[in-house]
Amino acid sequence: MSDRIFGAVGLALAIFYAFAASQIQESFLTDTVGPKAFPYIIAAILGLASAYIAFRPDPEPVWPPLGRLAEIAAAVVALMIYAQVLPEIGFVIATAFAAAYLSWRLGSKPLASVIAGVSISVGIYIVFHLILGLSLARGPFGF
């Protein structure tokens, strides 16, 4: 069933892609093939492959229980927040929080994950910024 849904989504994507390709504004100075032809070919391949997947599905993949899916969703949200606040509060603080969160969710004890988070953050800061001179996000405190 999963593969049938996957194929259907792929098919929808192919149709959408072909539609988006048809919306490309052609300039008056164009080559014989033009900017639309290759996207149409891609949409066709995408559509054919998706249709095949939908009609001849593979055995069902093992889906994780709902709790695990929520876990991944939570990690995605955490990382998105990290991406947004990184330029605001600086590399070291943001990274310590994000790394501690991931470590905690992967099964570290709360205290251990705080230690892991801080050491990962400070470690990366030392290696990449102080030794290798890479510019990391600067927060209000300069690190």
Partner: protein
């Protein structure tokens, strides 16, 4: 003679303190990444590309660093195969079959050192193969026009799934996704924006580094979260090594095996659609058939360790041939290495050998240097690398995630790119769930634009006649190989797969 002079020049380029230092760092990091389950050659190199890029390393030093990582990962994969019966990366799968039984017999040290020597022999011979074969391939490639190049790109996509591909429709799906993403941005030939939906950030197109790091590295973090697999696989297992030098008699017995496996592995690496995993698989199967008279293979025969290790390292070297000579990678990790070259504004292909001889020959010299370093590092220091297996994923995976963010943020300094990377991480996880290979996606993003421009140029030159795509014997030949390569797995895949899939799990999507 000419080749030797160029090689000498290559050593001239490579032998600076900086480059040797980079090769050493690369070898160490590579071995570690190969050894740790969850990090393999392709995602290991993927994380490091943005870093090499932001550190402002030149083309030759970057390539030296990253190919050392590549070769190192091929060495490192065997460590956890032998000690824990868990392949550190996919090509090391076959090494489990005899490596682990050897370790159980208390011969872990011998298994590690014999496989180290086999890795060295495989990689060393393959590097010579690269030197001899690549210039010949370049001569053929110089005959290619746009139509032939288009056919060659199609060949790369159609064979990428490999003979052991599970579902060709999914490989095609992945390639179409990658090519589709490559179209995003301003069309280089007419200057019109495509698929950007008015988003200014997309006018430059999607940065392939962002896509690679998201698909390869972040999706791995999600896989670990899904299984809440936070404890080290080595925890609680007794990791005894014993003597680390093999008896000479054992080495001698393995020499013919190593040589044969190297040859076969190299061929598997050069041919499209094979790659290192298949290289180690066929090397092992061939040796089993040839020399296994007493039925000791699978029960801890040193030759059963030497064969797949020589095979996969030779294949790793062989896979560099089409990547450097044609600009068309045949495996996951070489696709990632292609990304390195492209991000440094170097286009691999036949012209690379004439326009950037420094890069090519410096790289080849660096492969020799890295190989010797790896042998020297791996035999005495194997105990240290073994200790690293104790690092649990609950520490390792946050490091992987954070270093990925550092690299991508370092390139652009924009949160938008980070969000795109997270998006790719999620897509990567979903695709891996559906058993859709990720490598064609990457290759599509990398090769989409050159593929399209060759198509348009070919048709343009022939005044709009699409027949030009099959207009020369060379092009027709390439199309035939492409179609055979696409159809072969449908007929032979099942047989091969049943023998190979003893222990392939979700790593399958990251196959190399």
């Amino acid at each position: 003679m000419d080749t030797l002079a160029q090689l000498a020049h290559g050593f001239d380029v490579a032998l600076t303190w900086q480059n040797i230092g980079l090769a050493l760092i690369g070898c160490l990091l590579g071995t570690i990444m190969g050894a740790l389950p969850g990090l393999g050659p392709s995602n290991g190199v993927a994380i490091l590309i943005p870093l090499a890029f932001t550190l402002g390393l030149g083309p030759t030093p970057s390539m030296i660093l990253l190919t050392s990582v590549y070769y190192g990962a091929m060495y490192g994969g065997r460590i956890s195969s032998i000690l824990l019966n868990i392949p550190g990366d996919e090509p090391a799968m076959m090494t489990c079959l005899d490596g682990y039984p050897m370790a159980q017999k208390g011969m872990a040290g011998e298994a590690l050192s014999i496989s180290g020597i086999a890795s060295f022999v495989g990689a060393f011979l393959a590097t010579w193969g690269l030197i001899l074969l690549a210039p010949q391939l370049v001569k053929i490639a110089l005959l290619f026009g746009p139509a032939e190049y288009f056919a060659l790109f199609a060949l790369a996509f159609m064979t990428l799934g490999g003979v052991s591909s599970t579902n060709q429709a999914k490989a095609a799906f992945a390639a179409a996704i990658g090519l589709g993403l490559a179209m995003v941005g301003v069309d280089t030939q007419t200057g019109v924006p495509r698929m950007t939906f008015g988003e200014v950030h997309l006018y430059d197109g999607i940065d392939f580094l962002v896509a690679i790091v998201g698909l390869f590295a972040l999706s791995e973090v999600f896989v670990f979260l899904e299984h809440r697999h936070g404890a080290s696989d080595a925890a609680g297992k007794k990791v005894e090594i014993g003597r680390i030098t093999p008896p000479w008699a054992m080495v001698k017995r393995c020499i013919p095996t190593m040589l044969r496996a190297s040859g076969l592995g190299f061929l598997a690496g050069v041919l499209p659609g094979a790659g290192a995993s298949l290289g180690s698989f066929i090397s092992y199967s061939m040796e089993k058939r040839l020399v296994d008279r007493e039925g000791t293979f699978g029960k801890g025969d040193p030759r059963g360790v030497a064969a797949p290790e020589a095979g996969n390292n030779a294949a790793a070297g062989g896979a560099l041939v089409p990547m450097l000579a044609l600009g068309v990678p045949g495996s996951g990790t070489t696709a990632v290495l292609l990304a390195v070259l492209l991000s440094l504004n170097i286009t691999p292909g036949p012209l690379l050998f004439t326009q950037n001889p420094d890069v090519v020959w410096g790289l080849i010299a660096a492969l020799f240097i890295a190989n010797i370093m790896l042998l020297l590092l791996n035999i005495p220091m194997v105990g240290v690398f073994t200790r690293l297996l104790l690092i649990p994923p609950r520490i390792l995976m946050p490091i992987v995630a954070m270093v990925s963010f550092v690299g991508i943020y370092g390139i652009s300094g924009s949160s938008f790119d980070l969000m795109v990377m997270i998006g790719f991480g999620v897509v990567g996880w979903v695709l891996r769930k559906f058993d859709v290979p990720l490598v064609p996606v990457i290759l599509g993003i990398l090769l989409g634009n050159p593929m399209e421009s060759n198509l348009r140029r070919a048709v343009q030159i022939s005044n709009g006649d699409w027949g030009v795509l099959v207009g020369s014997p060379l092009a027709i030949g390439l199309w035939i190989i492409a179609i055979l390569g696409f159809l072969a797995p449908i007929f032979f895949g099942r047989i091969l797969r049943d023998r190979m899939t003893a222990r392939r799990d979700e790593e399958g999507s990251l196959r190399d």
